[in-house]
């Protein structure tokens, strides 16, 4: 390899390109997160007062659940505040509110997600290894039913990380509050509690585990450039929340979700050079449909 080639594909250059896509406030995500939560919460009076039937409420709540995680995910990486301390409340606000639909505590999600990034595909330390290593989609669905309870065992694994433990304990209280609210609601509105909240949140978590965890990480190795892949399937990119592009998020988490396609186009030569799994199949222009593989 000649020295000029090494220079072109240096990590500093890769980082510089990635940084240019890591500056924009992710307003679309904030809107989606707060918007879906507003729709989800409004379903309760609408269904209870018989303005809309329960089945319409259930379908709408399920769609809300599918859109609930990514806005929090951006917040977990600080992609609203962008390093500005006086804007951190936006990260917190969006994440707490959007996760209501999934009954997920923000603090636990942030703490465990950071560990997922640090130890992707490590059987003992990656908190999402159970779904990523599932042998079939059915296994993913079954395992994802455990919800955040599956993270409890990682309190022992990361017991020496005081920040992790503190965040986890904070989140556990929020988790208890969710449980208490659901248990109270089910006494007065049993079918509404089941079809507007419990079931949609389960569908949302299955969706999340399938597209955010299983497809991108299934049968991948550990290590930067190796732990996440570019993948194809039958459905257009917007059905899977663009998780075909998830590998670039693992390389540069600061790149905003809606800026990932442009970032990947710019970074494609670097990704091929580094041997990112599937990188040679990335189209030159990442639009919504070229990622469909028939």
């Amino acid at each position: 390899m000649d020295s000029s080639r090494v220079d072109i594909y240096s990590f500093a250059n890769e980082k510089e390109i990635a940084r240019s896509f890591s500056k924009r406030f992710q307003w679309e995500m904030a809107l989606i997160g707060l918007g879906q939560a507003a729709v989800f919460l409004s379903l309760w009076p609408l269904v209870i007062l018989n303005v809309i039937p329960l089945w319409i409420g259930a379908i709408t709540a399920t769609f809300c659940a599918l859109f609930a995680y990514l806005p929090s995910h951006e917040a977990q990486h600080g992609n609203y505040s962008r390093g500005k301390a006086n804007r951190r409340w936006i990260d917190s606000l969006v994440s707490h509110v959007t996760l209501i639909t999934l009954m997920f505590p923000h603090h636990i999600m942030r703490a465990t997600h950071m560990k997922h990034h640090a130890y992707t595909n490590d059987p003992h330390k990656d908190v999402d290894y159970d779904t990523a290593s599932s042998s079939s989609l059915l296994e993913v669905f079954l395992r994802s039913n455990e919800s955040t309870a599956k993270y409890d065992k990682y309190l022992e694994v990361f017991k020496d990380d005081s920040n992790f433990v503190k965040s986890f304990e904070k989140g556990a209280l929020v988790g208890l509050a969710y449980r208490g609210t659901l248990m109270t609601l089910v006494i007065f509105f049993p079918l509404e509690a089941l079809f507007l909240w419990w079931l949609p949140s389960k569908v949302g978590v299955m969706y999340l585990s399938t597209f955010f965890s299983w497809y991108p990480h299934y049968q991948m190795e550990t290590g930067r450039y190796k732990d996440t892949r570019f993948w194809h399937h039958l459905l257009p990119r917007y059905i899977n929340h663009s998780m075909q592009l998830h590998f670039v998020h693992h390389l540069h988490p600061g790149i905003g979700h809606f800026d990932e396609p442009k970032a990947i186009e710019a970074l494609k030569p670097f990704l091929i050079e580094r041997g990112v799994p599937g990188a040679d199949q990335i189209p030159d222009r990442v639009s919504y449909n070229p990622l469909i593989k028939l």
Binding site: E139, N145, L176, V186
Partner: protein, 72 residues
């Protein structure tokens, strides 16, 4: 006060699934029974549905996870 909260949290952590089975699944099964008219002639059947929920919760507690999730 702090002790009471700690005791409460420990109890919930340990018996969470049992309470969830009794209250959540019991209420849901009972509501389905009412919806399908099963309680119209025999309101005491409610006890059966809550008992069934409780059993689901107890099995989950001792199994470590819900019946429909593969145990590790």
């Amino acid at each position: 006060m702090k002790t009471i909260i700690t005791v409460l949290i420990n109890h919930i952590k340990s018996w969470n699934m049992v309470w969830f089975g009794l209250i959540f699944w019991g209420s849901v099964l009972n509501a389905f029974a009412a919806e399908f008219g099963l309680l119209a002639n025999n309101p005491n059947l409610s006890y059966f549905f809550f008992l069934f929920g409780l059993i689901l919760g107890l099995v989950a507690k001792f199994r470590g996870t819900w019946l429909w999730i593969p145990a590790e």
